[in-house]
C-alpha cells in the first residue's frame, strides 16, 4: 500500500485547537511526551481528510467508511469511551503523569487490565455522556 499522505497544515491546526479545547473541557492534559500528542493529532487530521471525520488513529479499521456507516460516532474523537468513561486509549487525553483515566471503566475492560485503576484528578469535568455508560 502507498504511504498515506501527510494532512494539510490547516487540518492539523484545526485538530490541534479542538484537542486543546477538549483538554480544558474534560479536565485532562496532553501526554508528557509531546511526540505522542503530535502523532495522534496528525492521525486525526489524516482521517478527517480521508473520510470526513476525525476517527481515532489508534484503532485498525478494515474499512473506515463501513466503520462510520455501521457504528456512527463510536470512534470519532472524542470517542464514546472518552465521553462515557473519560478513557482515551490513544493517550491524547490523560492525567499529568501521562496515564489514561480508568477508574470509571468496567472491570473487564482492557484499559483496566493494562493500566490498573487510574483515578480521575478532575471528577467535576468531562464524561458528558456518563448517562450512557454501561
Amino acid at each position: 500500500m502507498a504511504k498515506r499522505p501527510e494532512p494539510q497544515q490547516a487540518t492539523i491546526e484545526k485538530m490541534r485547537r479542538y484537542v486543546e479545547k477538549y483538554w480544558e473541557k474534560s479536565g485532562t492534559v496532553g501526554h508528557p511526551d509531546a511526540e505522542v500528542t503530535k502523532a495522534v493529532v496528525l492521525g486525526l487530521a489524516a482521517n478527517t481528510e480521508e473520510c470526513g471525520r476525525p476517527l481515532c488513529p489508534c484503532n485498525f479499521y478494515p474499512d473506515k467508511e463501513a466503520e462510520l456507516r455501521e457504528h456512527g460516532r463510536r470512534w470519532i474523537c472524542a470517542c464514546d469511551e472518552m465521553k462515557q468513561w473519560k478513557y482515551c486509549h490513544c493517550l491524547l487525553f490523560v492525567t499529568p503523569e501521562g496515564m489514561p483515566i480508568t477508574e470509571y471503566l468496567p472491570e473487564d475492560h482492557e484499559g483496566r487490565q493494562v493500566y490498573g485503576v487510574v483515578k480521575d484528578p478532575t471528577p467535576d469535568k468531562g464524561r458528558e455522556s456518563r448517562d450512557l455508560a454501561k
Binding site: 500500500m1 498515506r4 501526554h31 511526551d33 511526540e35 505522542v36 500528542t37 502523532a39 495522534v40 496528525l42 492521525g43 489524516a46 488513529p57 489508534c58 484503532n59 485498525f60 478494515p62 486509549h89 490513544c90 493517550l91 491524547l92 482492557e110 484499559g111 487490565q113 493494562v114 493500566y115
Partner: protein
C-alpha cells in the same frame, strides 16, 4: 529509526517470517499516527536487542498489512502478540504494555 534487530512483517512475509519461524516471534501491531504505538517503539527495540538470536522481534504496520491485521481481529493498537512455531499466538497484549511484562512473557515462552 528502527533498530537493525527489529524486523518488518508484512502480509507477504507473514507465513515465512512468523508462522513458520524456527524461533519465537514477537509482533508489534502498530500504525505511524498512533501515539501509544510510538511510546511502545523503544521498548520493542530494546527487547529486540536483548533477545537477539533467540527471539525474532518485529513490527507490523496495520495500515499496510491489512490482511494480517484483519485475520487476527486487531481493533485497538498497539497490540503485541508472541508466536512460537505456528500462526496461533501464545500470548497477546493490548495497549502500552510494560517492558517487564513483555520480558517475563518472552522468557516464559522460551522456557516452555
Amino acid at each position: 529509526m528502527a533498530s537493525h534487530n527489529v524486523f518488518e512483517f508484512t502480509d507477504d512475509n507473514w507465513d515465512s517470517e512468523v508462522a513458520k519461524s524456527a524461533v519465537p516471534v514477537v509482533v508489534d501491531f502498530w500504525a505511524p499516527w498512533c501515539g501509544p504505538c510510538r511510546a511502545l517503539s523503544p521498548i520493542i527495540e530494546r527487547i529486540a536487542t536483548q533477545f537477539a538470536g533467540r527471539v525474532k522481534v518485529g513490527k507490523l504496520n496495520v495500515d499496510d498489512a491489512q490482511e494480517v491485521a484483519t485475520k487476527y481481529g486487531v481493533t485497538s493498537i498497539p497490540r503485541v502478540f508472541i508466536f512460537k512455531g505456528s500462526d496461533r499466538p501464545e500470548k497477546a497484549f493490548v495497549g502500552l504494555t510494560s517492558e517487564s511484562e513483555l520480558v517475563k512473557s518472552i522468557n516464559t515462552v522460551l522456557g516452555a
